[in-house]
Every structure is written in C-alpha cells, then in structure tokens.
Symmetry: D2
Subunit: 147 residues, 4 copies
C-alpha cells in the first residue's frame, strides 16, 4: 500500500495520539518508526507482563499489534481524524520472548471510514527476529476528540 496520505503533517498528529495512550508508557512501548501507512512499535520484554510460561502474554502482544494497526491507519486519514478499532484477529505463532517484541503494521486497504491493516509481531534477540504473532484488523475513522 503506497497511497499518499491526505494530511502532510500526519507524523506529529500520530505521535501526539500515541503519547496519549497511557498504556504504552505502562508497558514500555515506543513508536520507533512511522511512514504513511506504516508503523513500527517496540517493547522490551519484562517479567511483569508474562503469562504462565514466562513469555509475554498474548494480550500484551495484541496491545502493541492493535496500536500499530491503528497508527498505520490514522497516518492515511485527513487532519482532524481519530481512530478506533472495530475488530482484530490474532494468530499466535511462537513464544513471545527474547529482548523485545517488535511490531510492524501496515495498511492493507485504506478507506474513507474503514481501513484494513495487517501487522506482524517479532520476538527479537540481538539481530535475530522470529515472527511470534500476526494480526488482521479493521480500523474506523472518527472525528478526533477536542482538546
């Protein structure tokens, strides 16, 4: 998906929105890359975000997959837009372990109201990335909340 964003200043708008997601601070996730229709988020693994085997809980992996899809979608919409998740589906492919979880999300088809995104999550150890989960999601464009 290489369509042109409708808002040339999408970068600031998306980063501000990310900054308002308090849960991103709580779990230690950062928006590490952003292009029109693409977002990357990284989160160092932590012992207090684990399921029963010590891996990062699928719901926490989903948290960053979902935000990745949301910001990939939001980057394509006009100024004044906000984003909400309509639905998503996640397949868990391997243990979410290692130094960090990295998510790469992108727009599959950008619509005026509904945008479909895909995202992969990788378990990262040094230079090695192992895909650990994948998401297919629908995002909806709403009016941004007023400040």
């Amino acid at each position: 998906m290489r369509a042109k964003p409708q808002d040339p200043d999408f970068d600031t708008r998306v980063r501000n929105n990310f900054g308002e997601q308090t849960v991103m601070h709580t779990i230690g996730a950062r928006l590490t890359q952003l292009e029109a229709g693409r977002a990357e988020i990284e989160m160092p693994t932590r012992d207090d975000l684990a399921q029963q085997n010590g891996y990062v809980h699928a719901g926490i992996v989903t948290t960053i997959l979902d935000s990745g899809c949301g910001y990939a979608a939001l980057s394509m919409w006009p100024a004044g837009s906000g984003v909400l998740s309509v639905e998503f589906k996640v397949n868990l492919l391997a243990p979410a372990k290692g130094e960090m979880i990295r998510v790469r999300a992108e727009v599959k088809r950008s619509g005026k109201r509904l945008t479909v995104c895909t995202a992969d999550a990788f378990a990262v150890d040094g230079d090695k990335e192992t895909i650990c989960a994948t998401m297919l999601a629908t995002m909806i464009c709403i009016e941004a909340k007023r400040s």
Copy 2:
C-alpha cells in the same frame, strides 16, 4: 456447554496457573469465578491502562478475554494439562470504561487438543453492565510445564 471436567481438581490447577500470569497482577485482574467450562475475570479500570480517549485499551481488554478463554478451556482438560492460545478474534462493541471490566468466558466446544471458547467483556458501573467486546478463540492443550 455442560460437559463434565476430566479432572475433579481442576479448580486448584486453574487458579495456580492464573497465579503464575504475572501480567494479571500488573493490570490488577482477578479470577472471580470458575466452573467447569466457565471462567469470570474482573479488572478495575485504571488511568494507566488507557488508549487515547481514556478508555481501557482494546489490547488490555483482550488480555483478560484471552485469559478467561484459556482458563475456561483448561478447566475441562485432564490433570497435567497446560494451555496456549492458538488464535482469537475480538470485536469492540462499546467504550471500555466505568468502574471495572468484567469478562465471562465459556467453552463452546471442548476437544482433546483444540477447544473453541467465546467470551464477552462488560463495562461495569455499579449494577449496570454494558457489553464492550466479544471474543471467539481457539485454545490448544499442551503438557503443563514441570515445576
């Protein structure tokens, strides 16, 4: 789904497993009810688990939906079993706000290896419950990790 559990002592086994999910402590979630094939989890809402509008992030709601489904499934399997999520799909239906999020999960079809579960999440304010999300999930039975 009113099938009989294969392990009469499922309650202890499931509660111990829940206790090992450090993320449940981190987000303040508690396993409030457990029957064969059913689990209920409650989590008070908190400002540090929010998305950009101040509601609980969809990924955090997913975290307790997923654990609810996992423990509903695990309750039906034999002693020595563990559980992993294969995949899940979530539809977001309303803002996850109020005093707490309550999840009710149940087994839809219990299999030897794969079990399909459904779960609803409710935004709770006093006596009022509003459905805010729903999950359809596949769980896989594995050997429990050795202690």
Copy 3:
C-alpha cells in the same frame, strides 16, 4: 438482543433481498425463519458441494452463515437499508454432514452503521443437531440499491 426493529415491514424487505441472492438458489438454501434480529437458513447437503472427505465445504457453510448474519442485521435497520459484510471469522467444529445444514444467526449488537452478529451452523440428521461451525461477523448498513 431483543431490540425493536426500526422498520415494521422488515420481513418482506429481508425476504426479497434473500430472493435476489442467486447463490442461495444454486446451493439450495432457504430462509426458514425470520424475526427481528434473528434468521434461520437451511440447506440440504448435496454431493456436489463437498470437500475432499465428502462433507459440505467450509466455504459453503460460510455462505449460509454469512447470509444468516446479514439478514439478522438487515432486519433491525430502517426501510431503504441494504447490507454488506465487512468481515467474518469462522471456527469449524465438526464435519458438516447429515441431511442438512441449519444456520441460526442473531444480532449481538445492532448499530446505526455497523452491526455485530453471531451464527451457529448445525449438521442435522433427523432430530439430532450437532454444531459444526460458528461465526462472529461485522455487517455494514448501506443504502439499498434502487430497482
């Protein structure tokens, strides 16, 4: 979901729409029950709709699950509405065999634009119903096509 339909004449409108789905005739499916927010479809099994084991193909089961969800949603919307599927997820639970496949669909949450539905498909032999698949779907309300 027991909300009141916005169009008291939803029955005729939905049945006409069903009649326009040529694929329903091709696979021999009939709309056997319709209430506000609920639809039932039946399709006798046939050898020419099979996958490699002789069961009804998952895609054909999906065809009637999807139409069931669509008509459950459409029954709740105002006159002049049409329906399209945004997305659906299906879990296959048992072989789709026997005399017929019966689908029961219902609205989970009816919205102005987006409505979330669930549907179960049953393999029917005489009086015996075995659940063989389940769907969680999002339908969107559009303007009906002009005739």
Copy 4:
C-alpha cells in the same frame, strides 16, 4: 515463507486432493498454480453465484480462499497427510466482480500440526487486478483418508 516441502511429490498429491473437492467443479474453480507453500485458484464469475447486488457472494469467495490456504498448507506436509480448516477470518475489501476471481494463498508459518496461511482474492478484469478480500487461516494436518 521459502521452506522446503517434506514430500517432493506434493504436486500430484495436492492436485488429486483438489480434484476430490466436488464443490470446485460446481463453482468452476481451477487450481492454476502450485508451488511449495503457495497455491493459486481461479474462478470465472457467474450470475448464479451472486449476492443481492450481482457480485460473487462472500461465501463463494471464501470457498476458494479456504481451498487456496488448505492446499498451500498441504504442499508443505509429508506424504500421507490430509488437511482440514480449523478456522479462518475474512475481510471483504471491494466488490467481487469482473471476469474472474483469482486467489493467491501462501503459508505464513508451517507447523507439524497447525499451519497458518494468508490469502488474497482479486477481482480480475483483463489485465487489471483489484484486491477484493483477504483471509488469515489456521489449517490442521491430519492423516489422509484411505482410498
């Protein structure tokens, strides 16, 4: 996904399996390409497979998406393997119209028992392909039925 297939004769095995899906003949679908981990299916559009707007019904598009994923998965498994769908999710992206529907499916992660696949469906008119649907699916490896 460029992993090596475990059965060098996967081509014959997969094509025979496809030939046993009577529904593929009924809807006029053909397996037009097959590599290890990839399958392509084409189906000319037909008036008797339509939904109420005259487009190919989402369930029929799903039928070929599902078979595409199944054969992509089956191509990677050992001789003697069969395939069943565990679950799939489909997003509908544009009307399924034009001369034919073409599906390209590929393995995302091949496992011993469970394999995750993705597939895109395209509405084809002459040289022009428009993506009309996308699937994320889980397939399970079973013993092939005896002949």
